[in-house]
């Protein structure tokens, strides 16, 4: 018999007995939503599996039953004894069909229209017509009886051409029989294995204790038997471990077939790749992640990947790809599921979230894309527009997440529209004997899984000195700076963190993923084999611990979770975005985040320029610098580009490379020579103005440092005295310079945008508030276009636009909104109140394009 089929039979037999029990419970507690959800899922799973195995009869019965249950779950139907009866009847029918399936490896012929019609009638809310003679009394009491205990009565061979009714009878009679397949395999209760494991662990610990005692004695008559005990224990331990460990490939065995069938059904081309199938993990864990994995792959195939023609249009290979990858990392198993499909649609998720009342529009507006994506993990969420046979009933991602979290794992997702979606599942090795390093900090001992330990470094060694930057310790290790975490500090062990420097203190160098850091501990003892036991539920929220264990001396010790500590160490890649979800979304108050290019030039202070102004960064070789008209220039893209040093006093370098910031306007470029490019940061910037030096707009605190923000306009005019003039001249030729009114309360942006617009040939007037702008209106000034900030004290941009549109001199003047928030909601509102367009602050090109378009449109009108 097909492995797949065998497994399906065993699995279904279990699901069905569970269903029987749950249904009877449901009848007693019709309002128990959890119970209902559970039943729904069980039926859903059966239906799904039947679909993939190509068992239409089973599938159609399960589908009809699921429809009814779905209605009940959505509150459209109430739980009545009739409904429960009929569902139970369907369960019995499924059992009957399964029995035949087991004997003949094929579904019996015939159909179940009687039952399905009844179910459909119910789903439509019609009172179930008692057309089919279904005795109520028969189904109900049969339900809770364990299937296995039913007497194995001699069964009539199912006739190949039975009529539906006969078939149904035979099926129901067979339903009570134990599955022969299930009996062939010994299914050992996991608890039993768990107990066995516990006992072995105890044995291991006792052996360790004995060995420790023996080590103190030179000659002992116990030495030989103990040696033997040692060996046997090790083998036993290994054996028991093996009973629990299985390659993850076992959980994947079904997937190729499933994906193939899905591809057929959906008319898609799918290439499924599986890597790391031999990664072993605990059997229990394996069982628990099987369903979530299947769901995820199914989702990738169904929702993630596009149809061949769509893919072709998007310029992708017609064949979509799903990649499964499993590997061990830092004492955890990581499973990645990646597709190269369409990615998650933010807009669809938003719409769905609103439709299903998971969040309000206002809440969504303030959420990051990652936060929005997290909605797919919420209960009752489904993005598929159609309810297909395959997925999309709102069972799925929430169940996936729940199941993974139940075993202490995490699931993360990364999605890029048009590029695909990746899921990252991390599951801890909840039950395994691992080698661990025992360390001490603040008088307590802890175990660190050896697998994450790269090396040990003695802190007081002359070559390795712990240095501090504002309280944060670092270690110079072979020409690298190793961030350190003081275990006492992260675990708040109370003891004075400053008095670490005992001679024994050691640094345990840890690698988590690509992040390497050191844990500062007071003392390192030894490595020991430990049995990882999950921590009590009361302590599970402490992310620093991966588990606890009992040492050879009988004491309990906590096992540190390198991932948790890395997260505490501030490794950005370790922080889970999802943790922030559900918390109050940081709405609105992001302020004006600006991308800034940090560099050093001239005097020591760090300098910054808004990245939006810089066209490119180039390295110019000093040897290529020529002098033209007494000024340094360089050939750049077939033209001469003037080079301007930040500090006129310091001449250009004689040799070597010089980093240059290239500013560009039209066909002209100018290079600003700096000493070193430091970084690009995105920060909320508050500029304290009052730069009294030319070329300096002001200073601000950026990345924790005092930084001078340079005035790009100043350097532009240095390069071309006529930079502004030329631009406005160009405009002059075409007509009068277009007049622009800029309203922004932030002096920084006014100072930034005014030269920018002037460069582009506009005649710019800027004011710091809507009131002042209205005063200009009253004063009879005219403008071709108004650019207004949205968030301003006093009158907001929205109110300003409304006021202007209501009538008056500027009624016809186009207004462009300028804001750091460009959510669709804002766009809508902006359009309503009369803005012609919406531009993100500091999107230089967009602003200029919008302005010229707006003015052109105005001219044409």
């Amino acid at each position: 018999m097909d492995d797949l089929l065998r497994e399906f039979l065993t699995e279904s037999a279990e699901s069905l007995s569970a269903l029987d029990l749950e249904l009877v419970k449901l009848e007693q507690n019709p309002n128990d939503l959890d119970l209902l959800g559970n039943i729904f899922r069980l039926v859903h799973t059966i239906k799904g599996t039947c679909g993939f195995l190509g068992l239409p009869r089973l599938e159609s019965v399960a589908h009809a039953a699921e429809n009814v249950l779905g209605k009940v779950r959505d509150g459209e139907l109430n739980v009545t004894p009739e409904i429960v009866d009929t569902i139970l009847k369907s369960v019995d029918r499924i059992k009957g069909l399964l029995t035949t399936l087991e004997e003949t490896e094929a579904e019996p012929e015939g159909n179940d229209n009687d039952l399905i019609d009844r179910l459909n009638a119910m789903a439509e809310g019609k009172e179930a017509a008692p057309s089919a003679p279904i005795p109520v009394a028969e189904a109900a009491p049969a339900a809770p009886a364990p299937v296995a205990q039913a007497a194995p009565e001699p069964q009539p061979q199912p006739q190949p051409h039975a009529t539906p009714t006969e078939m149904a009878d035979a099926a129901e009679a067979a339903a009570g029989r134990e599955s022969a397949v299930a009996a062939q395999n010994i299914r050992v209760n996991v608890d039993l294995l768990e107990n066995l494991m516990t006992m072995v662990s105890e044995l291991v610990l006792t052996r360790n204790q004995l060995l420790q005692m023996l080590r103190g004695q030179k000659e002992s008559e116990f030495a030989t038997p103990l040696q033997r005990l040692n060996l046997v224990t090790s083998e036993l331990q290994e054996g028991v471990m093996k009973t629990r460990m299985q390659p993850i490939g076992n959980a994947w065995a079904k997937l190729p077939r499933m994906v193939r069938d899905l591809a057929h059904e959906l008319g898609k081309k799918i290439d499924l790749r599986m890597q790391g199938a031999d990664t072993e993990l605990d059997r229990q864990v394996l069982e628990l992640i099987k369903d979530p994995l299947t769901h995820l792959v199914r989702n990738c195939a169904d929702h993630g990947l596009e149809r061949p023609e769509e893919r072709r249009q998007a310029g992708k290979n017609e064949t979509g790809r799903i990649i499964l990858n499993a590997f061990h990392e830092g004492g955890q198993i990581v499973i990645e599921i990646t597709d190269d499909g369409r990615g998650l649609s933010k807009e669809k998720i938003k719409a769905k979230a609103i439709q299903n009342r998971l969040a309000s529009e206002a809440e969504l507006a303030g959420m990051s894309e990652t936060q929005i994506q997290q909605f797919i993990f919420k209960a009752g969420f489904s993005t598929a527009e159609k309810v297909t046979n395959v997925s999309g009933r709102g069972v799925g991602m929430d169940v996936v997440r729940t199941n993974i979290e139940r075993i202490g794992g995490t699931i993360e997702l990364r999605s890029q529209a048009g590029r695909g979606t990746s899921f990252f599942i991390k599951i801890p090795l909840t039950l395994a004997i691992v080698s661990a390093l025992i360390v001490e900090a603040g008088g307590e001992r802890f175990a660190i899984p050896q697998i994450s330990v790269v090396e040990l470094v003695r802190a007081m060694n002359s070559g390795h000195k712990v240095e501090e930057i504002k309280g944060a310790p670092f270690l110079r290790l072979r020409n690298r700076l190793l961030p350190l975490v003081n275990l006492r500090t992260v675990l708040r062990l109370g003891a004075d963190a400053a008095q670490v420097s005992s001679d024994d203190s050691c640094i345990v160098v840890i690698q988590v993923g690509k992040f390497i850091f050191g844990i500062l501990v007071d003392r390192v003892f030894d490595t020991e084999e430990i049995v990882v036991k999950p921590v009590a539920p009361l302590l599970r929220h402490v992310s620093m611990f991966a588990g606890n264990t009992i040492l050879g001396d009988g004491s309990v010790i906590m096992i540190l979770d390198p991932n948790g500590i890395a997260a505490a160490a501030g490794d950005v890649t370790m922080t889970h975005e999802s943790a922030a979800v559900g918390e109050q979304a940081t709405t609105g108050s992001q302020g004006d985040k600006t991308s800034l290019l940090l560099f050093r030039a001239g005097s020591g202070t760090q300098k910054a320029v808004p990245l939006a102004l810089v066209a490119r960064l180039e390295d110019v070789d000093a040897a290529n610098v020529e002098i033209s008209n007494g000024k340094p220039v360089v050939q750049y893209r077939g033209k001469l580009m003037p080079l301007v040093p930040i500090d006129p006093a310091s001449p250009l370098k004689e040799s070597g490379k010089m980093p240059v910031l290239v500013f560009q306007e039209g066909a002209r470029s100018m290079g600003l020579v700096v000493d070193e490019i430091v970084d690009i940061v995105e920060e909320r910037m508050t500029v304290q103005l009052g730069g009294d030096r030319p070329g300096l707009m002001g200073s601000a605190i950026i990345a924790g440092k005092a930084t001078e923000v340079i005035d790009a306009g100043h350097y532009l005019t240095q390069a071309f005295n006529d930079w502004f003039a030329a631009a406005s001249e160009r405009n002059q030729v075409e007509g009068t310079a277009k007049r622009v009114l800029l309203i922004d309360d932030s002096p920084f942006f006014r100072n930034l945008l005014t030269p920018l617009l002037a460069v582009a040939g506009y005649d710019v007037t800027s004011v710091d508030g809507a009131q002042k702008a209205l005063a200009l209106c009253d004063a009879g000034r005219d403008f071709d276009v108004i650019i207004s900030d949205i968030e301003m004290p006093g009158m907001s941009g929205f109110e300003f636009a409304e006021t202007v549109r209501r009538g008056g001199r500027w009624q016809g003047t186009p207004i462009v909104a300028l804001s750091s928030h460009t959510s669709p909601k804002d766009l809508d509102r902006g359009r309503r109140v009369g803005f012609v367009d919406y531009v993100a602050k500091l999107d230089r090109d967009a602003l200029l394009t919008t302005l010229s378009q707006t003015i052109d449109a105005q001219g044409a009108a």
């Binding site: 516990t198 610990l205 307590e444 675990l491 009590a536 302590l539 929220h541 402490v542 009988g554 309990v556």
Partner: protein, 159 residues
């Protein structure tokens, strides 16, 4: 016994119920004897950093790891003087073992439902949260604790 509602679930048809009695800071408490797995003397306890303050730590009970709860802290009572050794009352919940650290453990009392009263309104709010009611014994009052609610420790904000 019906008037005592479902809080009083008698062990037998005579309506009596057995409690393990214990003292914490001079006050007599009781928990249903059937919930008690074990009573052991003072144990070596491993502190668990970052755990809620009520959790004293973990200890090893014949190869099983038991989470110990400092009942004085849990009930908002003053800490036990250092010279006083505690007792561990081991209970189970959801397959996990927990130890309630108390000052001393007394005898098992078989009590009649008539002696039981639901939480009086003026009972200390902390006790109110974790107790099912009060039994009027001859000499003193015994607060009947609800083990499930004792173990329902609010996570601190660090979670």
């Amino acid at each position: 016994m019906s008037k005592h509602n479902d809080t009083w679930a008698p062990d037998d048809d005579k309506g009596t119920r057995e409690f393990t009695s214990m003292t914490i800071a001079g006050q007599l408490f009781g928990i249903p004897v059937l919930t008690v797995q074990d009573v052991i003397g003072e144990q070596r306890i491993t502190r668990v950093p970052l755990a809620p303050p009520e959790i004293a730590g973990t200890l090893n009970l014949r190869g099983r790891i038991v989470t110990a709860i400092d009942m004085r802290r849990r009930l908002g009572l003053p800490p036990r003087p250092p010279e006083m050794s505690g007792m561990n009352v081991v209970v189970e919940k959801g397959g996990e073992l927990y130890s309630l650290i108390v000052d001393s453990v007394g005898e098992v009392l078989s009590l009649d439902g008539e002696l039981f009263e639901r939480n009086p309104a003026t009972l200390d709010p902390v006790l109110h949260d974790v107790s099912m009611g009060v039994c009027r014994l001859d000499k003193e009052l015994m607060v009947v604790l609800d083990v499930a609610r004792i173990l329902d420790i609010k996570r601190d904000q660090a979670a």
